[in-house]
Symmetry: C2
Subunit: 144 residues, 2 copies
DNA sequence: CAATAGTTTAGAACTACTCTAAATAGGAAC
DNA sequence: GTTCCTATTTAGAGTAGTTCTAAACTATTG
């Protein structure tokens, strides 16, 4: 009874994405994508997720954390965000959005793209298409 | 005579910025910022600059390349751009501008900000100010 | 030109990942 | 269930990009 409690939403999502629902993947999917897991949207680093998983009693190596984060990104469950050197963030917010980046703390906050309009950008050059337009508002502690 | 040829513009810029005009810094300033050095704007990585300097007969260690790039950035001679994991780019374009990023090749191209308008962004939260708004258009090879 | 403080350097160290090859574990077939 | 096969996981080595350290060097001041 204990093993199969809870919805198997995550299990189904994994299977649909062609990912075998292993213990590690299911557990990480619950942590990141499960209902009421953490307040979302979240911006998690591999290192942070590794620690969080360990605290939750999930035994998973760092290599698997990286593999899984990339597989989830490929499957469209997450979005990778790089704003500066240092670790990548994986964002659970899949909607169109941009970011507020606090340079002093490294904190990343979402900005719904619904209200934001970017005009005057050039057309995509021949042979290319726009994958995404990222807007990052870099904030620093007000001086003075 | 040979040692002091050329304008000493770079030398003065360094001094004004409080940077002692050492052989290495002057040589790198000429490569990056000097008139007619390379077509500009440029997006150079530390590694690429190290190789370029070596080819130009400038003996400079990689550590100094990194130090100098950061000092130049601090002095406002360069701007650091991070678009994905991998090396940082240092941009000689100091005007307001955004970037086209070719995901397949890693190429970075400037977009003059004069024509671009970004509206609907939230105000900077209390105690912070906007350091910069970066727009990155991510391009990929058109599929299909 | 000597003193001194800022610079440079080689090489070690470090961070954030990725790879490798062996062990493990889903899941289909019986 | 048991067997088999392949996907997955893992520890640990390896790598890229960058920073640190402590000693050697050099631009400037007196």
């Amino acid at each position: 009874m204990a093993l199969l409690t809870g919805t198997s939403t995550e299990l189904d999502r994994l299977r649909t994405a062609g990912l075998r629902p292993t213990r590690q993947r299911v557990a990480l999917a619950r942590l990141l994508l499960g209902p009421g897991a953490h307040p979302r949207p979240r911006h998690v680093t591999a290192e942070a997720l590794h620690i969080e998983a360990a605290r939750a009693g999930i035994k998973v190596s760092l290599a698997t954390i990286y593999n899984t984060l990339h597989q989830f990104t490929g499957a469209g469950f997450l979005r990778e965000v790089v704003v500066d050197s240092g670790p990548s963030y994986f964002d659970t917010n899949l909607g169109e959005h941009h970011h507020l980046y606090f340079e002093d703390t490294g904190e990343l906050r979402d900005v719904d793209a619904a209200n934001v309009r970017v005009t005057g950008l050039p057309a995509a050059p021949r042979g290319t298409e726009v994958a995404r337009v990222d807007v990052v508002v870099r904030l620093r502690h007000r001086k003075g």
